[in-house]
Symmetry: C2
């Protein structure tokens, strides 16, 4: 019996965050409402960051209030600090997703502070929330930092330990700029599941160097059962113009299903959402299944070939 694999759809947060043209609030709500009926275990709806820093997600409150929640789907929101948590708590998310990097220079670039300060700031959020709501912590650059290169897995393990000591039971291990390879992913998966059997891990991959789905497969083979994905592969990498961003949800999910894993996701509905998204952003996205169709979309045998075959 193969593991059930769950997916967390992050397109309206991680994907939209990289778009240059503002996507209207009602369009965001429309897409999330469609995604809610696809079978995701979780949807990362938006981010309660400073509207100045990320104008695209300035409508976080309106979006959270506007969507129709579906039972069985957790609606999570990204939180950078206490102020964000306080704003988010007013709209009753199912989970807060806190984030910090596992390398100093990436943390400084993204959070404008040291990893120590970030940890203290997130600890403050965790105490403030006081278990009234589930908390997930996302550890960025866990497989490599675009400025520093190699990230020692011990740094990742230390941070997991510290958050675990604060009562955090959910962590996401992020390959933020697509530096991981399947061998490294397999080792990380073994390491964290062995050391922290009671923590629910999500792995978050980017396809920046084309290895996203191979990394997903390596993680599945080594016991990881929850993954982030972005519809259509929407997103990008600030360090690699033209390269793709997050792994494409529908491609990742379809592969997982073909490999015999239950995902609970309706791939046909999901492909409709991917088409809606392409219309929304007005361009072709990196997702492949939306172009090629599922493998059971067969092509007709052409007339002249039929003649040949029957002659």
């Amino acid at each position: 019996m193969k593991n059930r694999i769950n997916f967390n759809e992050v397109v309206t947060r991680d994907g939209f965050q990289n778009e240059s043209l503002f996507i209207p609030t009602d369009k965001k709500i429309e897409l999330i409402n469609q995604l809610s009926h696809c079978g995701f275990s979780k949807i990362e709806v938006t981010s309660f960051t400073s509207p100045k820093a990320i104008p695209m997600l300035a409508d976080a409150t309106e979006v959270m209030q506007g969507i129709q929640r579906v039972e069985g789907v957790e609606y999570t929101v990204l939180i950078p600090n206490l102020k964000g948590a306080q704003r988010a708590m007013q709209v009753n998310p199912d989970e807060l997703n806190l984030v910090m990097s596992t390398s100093q220079s990436h943390n400084f670039s993204n959070m404008r502070m040291s990893m120590q300060s970030s940890f203290a700031s997130l600890a403050e959020v965790i105490h403030f929330v006081n278990q009234k709501i589930a908390i997930n912590v996302s550890l960025s650059t866990a497989f490599g930092c675009p400025m520093e290169g190699y990230v020692d897995p011990r740094v990742v393990i230390d941070l997991i330990t510290q958050f675990s000591d604060l009562g955090v039971g959910r962590l996401t291990i992020c390959d933020t700029t697509g530096m991981a390879n399947p061998e490294q992913v397999a080792q990380m998966a073994q390491l964290v599941t062995n050391l922290f059997p009671n923590i629910a891990f999500t792995f978050h991959f980017h396809n920046t160097r084309g290895m996203g789905l191979a990394n997903l497969m390596a993680a599945i083979q080594n016991g990881i059962t929850q993954f982030d994905g972005s519809l259509g592969g929407l997103g990008g990498c600030p360090y690699a113009p033209g390269a793709t961003g997050n792994i494409c949800s529908e491609d990742a999910i379809y592969m997982t299903q073909l490999m015999g894993h239950e995902t609970g996701i309706d791939i046909i509905k999901l492909l409709e959402s991917a088409k809606l998204l392409e219309n929304m952003v007005g361009r072709t996205l990196p997702g492949q299944i939306v172009k090629a169709g599922t493998i059971d979309c067969l092509h007709p045998v052409l007339g002249n070939v039929q003649e040949l075959m029957s002659s």
Copy 2:
């Protein structure tokens, strides 16, 4: 100790075949000469098909005569029938690559004849060549046919057996339109290596549905050590407009190297060839590493972040 993995570069045959604008003979030769110094075990130079059917490769003889061969690299050419073999033998290739499909409708579409007729025609070539030159047989649609869908692995096994009985020691198992998934690839790899321990198998993947590198990884995990790839991911799928074609050589090779396998390939030289190719065809190709760089191409910490870090 991990298996050494060898790659066969097919861009100037499988990739160019899908291009609409003719690529001049001297440009083809220039690219092949560059690729010869990258460390490939084999290069599929061109195809001796009817110049009417594939005008792009009408200069097969001139290309084979114009390239500078490098020791350690096998130069192979695609052959559809006896006439092609006779033309090819005049330019002394290291290998003839014969091809037929494992599904009737795809074979009729591509070869204008039944699988039985194709087999008879290829058997004729094999007898004609009479072991004077190595022969590889490529079996198309072995993981699924775009018209018929499921292809029974027994059909593939039967064809391997028949070719093996004719003395063929090299076969390529092709996922011609990207219908394979990693589970299926793992099973096929186990099946063929167990049943035919003395045959040298190459696996040929397309990235039509985004699973190309995951399929490569599944094949490696199950004992396959030789793969086809196309520089830049050049190529496409006639059944899926907009979808990608063959797996991208440099992305596939780089992943294989990061996983700890010796490939003998100089990835930096290969990336230079990928850039030459992009200039040649005048557009951006699907390859990711050429956009994102290798993981050791680190980015500078920006001035304002440096200030923050030192304050």
